[in-house]
Assembly symmetry: C2
Homo-oligomer: 229 residues x 2
């Protein structure tokens, strides 16, 4: 191995370590991530970090991208691990995977799905990874629609909504009826609403049995969407 790539590898490891330390800091500081604190934890001087990230916001962006991808990986893997014909099993598995990931990485979840960080604008690279979980959900429904086990409810979609959704299906899910997409989006909203409520403390006193509650609620959504039992 040429010496140059050793340096490159060390550099890549440093970047990884910086991100790992920064992730730990997210847990206590939220999005008020401090470069200096990260540098301190790494036993470096704060200016040294500028060798690796041109600014604090770039570090934040890297963390966001990684988090989106970790969440996407988890959801897709959970879906793929279930018999493809077991639509309801896939739905529950995907939802649970999202929740499990969020519970395991609450600070990163808050970074993705919490209030926007003041003064920080997410770059466009985040759009695609952010779409992975809803895309997985649509995929489950799409399979069911393709083999006839999921039928389309006769929703009276208002025309502007139908048109908006038609653009989405045309680009990403050709052939999918808009009203089916609308219902999957209800499920997608519900899923992250449930996780946010749980993580942000909305269920604190009211619902001690969080997991059972979560499964039941996602089950209700599966009914609404028309997933066969």
């Amino acid at each position: 191995m040429p010496a140059a790539s050793i340096r490159a590898r060390v550099r890549a490891e440093m970047i990884d370590e910086i991100k790992a330390v920064a992730r730990r800091h997210l847990a206590t500081d939220g999005a008020n991530l401090s470069l200096r604190a990260v540098a301190r934890d790494m036993g470096m001087v704060s200016s040294a970090l500028y060798r690796y990230f041109p600014s604090r916001d770039d570090l934040l962006t890297a963390l966001i991208l990684e988090a989106y991808d970790a969440l996407g990986d988890a959801v897709e893997a959970a879906d793929a691990a279930v018999d493809p014909r077991d639509l309801r099993g896939r739905w529950h598995a995907a939802c649970r995977a999202a929740r499990d990931w969020a519970l395991a990485h609450p600070a990163e979840y808050a970074l993705l799905y919490g209030s926007p960080v003041p003064g920080y604008a997410a770059p466009d690279d985040t759009v695609l990874p952010a779409q992975r979980p809803p895309t997985t959900l649509v995929g489950i429904l799409g399979d069911g629609y393709a083999d006839g086990r999921v039928t389309v409810a006769d929703d009276d979609l208002p025309e502007p909504v139908r048109a908006d959704l038609a653009e989405i299906t045309a680009g990403l899910f050709p052939g999918l009826p808009e009203s089916l997409l609308a219902r999957v989006m209800a499920g997608w909203t519900q899923l992250f609403g449930l996780i946010s409520f749980e993580l942000f403390g909305r269920l604190n006193r009211a619902v001690p049995h969080r997991e059972a509650y979560f499964d039941h609620q996602t089950g209700l959504m599966a009914d609404l969407i028309g997933l066969p039992r």
Copy 2:
């Protein structure tokens, strides 16, 4: 009017003005509210604010309480303005009121329903005002259940969930079946999921017709809950 109460009134007006200025700052700074910035905007020295609020967190708490109450007022008023027998109309009105309030006060909404502020613990006084919107939703369904126009779906509630919900109904909504409460909670989760998605940018590129989308989605939830059309 005795002179003492003039002083008291001036004091109350100052407190109101401080909160109003602080609310404006929330919009740009998010929860990183700066006492000094508020004082500057009021043409005072920062230490003067300590005559009115013992600490920054107390000011934040006051803002949170007011925001919960403003949202609660809006939702309850919208519900009350509709013919009580028009359950679906009440549902839509309550949901829209929550969305309208959130759109008009995005920073305060984020304070209530966004990621928790690091290092800040909401005091117990916030619990009751925070319950007002879901309580309104339950009220709509409860009326329908009482006069038989909303029937209870035969959900197979897992026992721990049923028990959790039974405690809630026993305390707040005696006689309401747990499975009905579970569905209202789905609607409640959906409602704030929708608002958060919209405000936090999740629909940015995908759904331009936000209001129609919102109404359609809350309509889907009304179906799930069993509100008569």
